[in-house]
């Protein structure tokens, strides 16, 4: 019986020739990730085990959630992470000024790559499926144990195959693909399962599109969301990923529990209504929804191409007088390149705020909290009740084109409406 991509990576890291869905295994880990919220409890668990770190080059500590420190307690968390990193000579620790959002910088710096197995104490760790890796989110106890042992337990998941066909129309981006998919299968449609992308439409998707799509596999309940390795992957990882890697492809007789098809040519700009990422609606059909804030950034849409799309819409326009538009580059490199390309100037001329990289508003931490009754269009990944602030505020999820168009018009809008 053939194996899919997820099974191949898991089998290889378990030291087995083959695995099948449902099997319980221990796997060795290529990279272990935590942030300023999840690392401190992981460090506490790690210290209970009483061993050294398994490999100081295979641990990444990225203080991105509450940084630059939002309050005194958050400063304490960041300090705990900093001191641990120093004590154990953690190679991939990133200080403020060099740090970015974890799931933006790990692919960008080539810390994760094809065929690699990564766990992270952050649910959006599934992002690295975009570069043909297996990666998944875990909690702090798993992470603490992984830092000591270099291993984690897994149940081999069943898999859903998403076949992409057709060509992507203008102003359609990865966010429209993944929000459409979650709308189709539901927020638990891939519960405990792997999502594997396939089909000729994959070649239509840029690496930025793929990173956005894999990032939100968790919003369908998925364990991971993995893309095949192709020329686009090769071009992206060459010169970035320093260690040797082994890409994976599914066997022709790989087993999938379900096949879902998406014709990219039929997609329209979509938005996910509060309070679930699966409440997907075509923007053209929703009527007038006035908004108070727009957030462009996050581990989902904080890359250069995302900012380019937002700048394309905002160029020569002003942010609507009733809207606060906050743009957050996902890394220092993205920030620098956005400056060189003139995007930052475009944002500031349009009347948007541009922030240093942080997860900030996405999880309602800081840098753009909503008051009661306020509505935001956000390129982030979750629109749960109270996610961005007051329990009676609302978040509408969309891609950068729709977010930027909404910022200009003061209501949720498609990019074509910005004349």
């Amino acid at each position: 019986m053939g194996m899919n991509m997820t099974e191949k990576i898991l089998a290889r890291h378990a030291g087995l020739d083959a695995v099948t869905a449902g099997q319980l295994i221990f796997c060795r880990l290529d990279m272990v990730l935590a942030n300023d919220v999840t690392a401190p409890p992981a460090i506490k668990e790690f210290e209970k085990i009483g061993r050294p770190v398994f490999d100081n080059t295979k641990i990444a500590l990225v203080p991105d959630h509450f940084t630059p420190n939002k309050d005194i307690k958050a400063a304490g968390l960041a300090k705990t992470v900093r001191e641990f990193a120093k004590k154990h000579s953690i190679k991939n620790y990133f200080e403020i000024g060099r740090v970015g959002i974890e799931h933006v910088i790990l692919p960008e710096k080539g810390i994760v790559g094809p065929g690699m197995l990564t766990i992270g104490a952050d649910s959006h760790t599934c992002t690295y499926g975009a570069v043909n890796g297996f990666s998944t989110g875990v909690g702090s106890t798993d992470l603490g144990v992984a830092m000591a042992t270099g291993e984690a337990w897994f149940k081999v998941p069943k898999a859903i195959k998403v076949v992409l066909t057709g060509k992507k129309p203008k102003h359609i981006c990865g966010k429209d693909v993944i929000l459409t998919l979650i709308g189709m299968i539901g927020v638990d449609g891939a519960l405990y399962k792997a999502i594997e992308f396939a089909g000729e439409g994959v070649a239509e998707l840029t690496m930025t599109d793929r990173l956005t799509i894999s990032n939100m596999a968790i919003e369908a309940g998925g364990k991971n969301g993995i893309f095949p390795f192709d020329d686009i992957t090769r071009e992206y990882v060459e010169g970035r990923v320093q260690q040797p890697y082994e890409a994976v492809a599914p066997d022709e007789d790989a087993v999938y529990e379900r096949v879902v098809e998406i014709d990219l040519s039929q997609l329209t700009p979509v938005v996910a209504f509060p309070h679930l990422p699966g409440n997907t609606h075509p923007v053209a059909e929703i009527g007038e929804i006035k908004i108070d804030q727009v957030v462009i950034g996050s581990c989902t849409n904080g890359r250069l191409e995302d900012l380019q799309q937002a700048a394309e819409i905002l160029r020569g326009h002003n942010v609507h007088p009733d809207v606060r538009c906050i743009v957050i580059p996902g890394s220092q490199q993205v920030y620098l390149e956005a400056m060189k390309a003139g995007y930052v100037e475009t944002f500031i001329n349009a009347g948007a705020a541009v922030s240093t990289p942080t997860c900030g508003p996405c999880l309602g931490a800081h840098m753009g909290i909503l008051a009661a009754g306020e509505k935001a269009v956000s390129t982030t990944n979750r629109n749960f009740r109270g996610r961005m602030g007051h329990v009676d505020s609302e978040v509408y999820l969309a891609g950068p084109y729709v977010a930027a168009a909404s910022a200009v018009l003061g209501r949720i809008a498609v990019p074509e409406e910005v004349k």
Binding site: G120, I218, V391
Partner: protein, 166 residues
Amino acid sequence: MSLEGKVWRYGDNIDTDVIIPARYLNSFEPKELAAHCMEDSDEHQEASFAANVAAGDVMVGGRNFGCGSSREHAPVAIKASGVPVVIAADFARIFYRNGINIGLPLLEIGSDVEKISHGDKLRVDTATGMIENLTTGDVFHAQPLPGFVQDIAKAGGLINYIKEKR
């Protein structure tokens, strides 16, 4: 372990932002987290969970319980509230792992969960997965944990398991 408790009933897709909002994640002290557990839920607003939960009360949710963030603070907050077991139709996978890893028993009973209402009294045997609804007389059986995952649960969590076994 057999225990008896009153039910706090919640719906489908209870997310970890509702279980413990991110504004409280600047601490990972269990008692502090418990003080804000379920604070943003729109259910049971008349008598909030944190202020009214009694040790031994059982939390019961619908489908996809614990979806969203990987924050282990969520099952920690529930456990520190005195809740000894959570029952749901099914759980989001990171929450499920975290529950097992921190020694909070989680029982999946599928659509049988619809036969449990807020305020019902349950008798739960976390070892066998047998659940008796003492209010209605219904009896349910949760799927047992598979393979070594059961050993992790029996050890009281992953740290103990790793110290003992590996």
